[in-house]
Symmetry: C2
Subunit: 223 residues, 2 copies
DNA sequence: TCAGTTATTGACCATTCGGTCGGTAAGCAA
DNA sequence: TTGCTTACCGACCGAATGGTCAATAACTGA
């Protein structure tokens, strides 16, 4: 594949003298380079040689760190998706105010995260695309991303109902958490595929969703 | 690639005597076969030989109908995504009742569509994944899917506000249509990547979203 | 029946890719 | 210094892929 960007990145980074590094130094370089390569070319289109070149490293070295392409890919995904959720869970654990406010903050945090780093979105999109061909990856997504996110949202909703903030019948809607999560996820996907300019604005979506959700969950006014 | 399913499909279909067909007959066969191939293997992983085998046809024939792999892919996408929107637009045009009811019907239609045909979801997922590498495809998606869907939803919301059904301040939220569309799209993506069993149930999401949206858009009760 | 058109084939080519392997040298311990 | 471990290289291989092309056989109209 003749790829300008990859080529330039290669020559730029390969120009640095090749030193022997400790695995703790080299691994992040390889993961970062692989992320670029996978993001730009997809799983099938990405080449080990390309990833190696981006890292300024010989192809063989990657096989010193990973058994094969598939394992490299899963490692890249793992290293990227985790931080978001730990951050969100920390927010929930630390929050003290109303559940409506917590939900607003949670939604805001998620959209901000989508808005700032484009690569996350690209990788998320890539993950979606490849999950069904990597059972291990689909398991990972379901366990570490989807279930975790749904549990987080559902917990806040449940607490809000218990506190009398939200309409009680929301407790009987098992699909509610997914409906609340989906816009953020989709915002990320849209940005990944269309770019920041043509995709619906995360800020606008955030505002609209917060308004919709807080109204939609509010207890009906008496009368 | 050694693929059991593809192999079986091949032998099964190739057993039929090879006849000369008119392009109008052969084209759908090739598109259908290519859809299967792309769905199962992604763009990079799909092979022209595989698609040809599934269609029970020699590889060369595909090049008689399409200039190359990229064009075949875009043709497959085009032929699949269109019908949903024409159906939805027909529904809107024909509807006579309240806008709240129209919105409910629209959401229901979209989720039903997602629930019944799995291949649509898989292809949609594939489209998301490959769009940024095919500018023409990204344009197509933005023009024929996203914009059209957003316009459809926004129109109903606007009409509902004008009719006094929905809260007037919803008119000031440009991200609202995207928020309303996203759960359906995401439901499709989730089913495509996790399968019908592990993905959030479209029926449950539909019910929750309808309830949330109709409450969230309703005019605040006086008092 | 015959010529012209074209749907269809399958062998073939150049290229690329994932993965292997023997070898090199840098760091470290003794 | 010596010797062991291991990060690192880069040439190499078999397999698979996208794409080509000359040959063929099935339709069509005259």
């Amino acid at each position: 594949m003749h790829d300008e960007a990859a080529e330039k990145a290669e020559t730029a980074r390969a120009a640095a003298p090749r030193r022997r590094l400790t695995p703790a130094e080299r691994l992040p370089q390889i993961l970062e380079a692989a992320l670029e390569e996978f993001s730009e070319s997809g799983y099938g289109g990405a080449s080990m040689a390309g990833a190696a070149a981006r890292a300024g490293v010989a192809k063989g070295l990657i096989y010193h760190y990973f058994p094969g392409k598939a394992e490299l890919f899963t490692a890249v995904v793992r290293s990227c998706i985790q931080p978001v959720f730990t951050e969100a869970e920390k927010l929930v654990a630390a929050h003290a105010g109303s559940n409506a406010d917590l939900l607003r903050q949670l939604i805001g945090l998620a959209y901000r995260r989508v808005g700032e780093d484009l690569r996350d979105g690209v990788l998320f999109k890539l993950l979606l695309a490849e999950a069904d061909r990597f059972p291990e990856l689909a398991d990972f997504y379901q366990r570490e991303v989807l279930s975790r996110g749904l549990a987080l949202v559902a917990g806040v909703v449940r607490a809000g109902i218990a506190a009398g903030e939200f309409r009680p019948d929301a407790a009987d809607q098992p699909g509610l958490a997914a409906v609340l999560m989906a816009p953020v996820a989709m915002s990320s996907v849209w940005r990944g595929m269309l770019g920041p300019d043509r995709a619906p604005s995360p800020e606008a979506m955030c505002e609209a969703q917060v308004a919709l959700v807080l109204n939609g969950l509010a207890r009906p006014a008496p009368g």
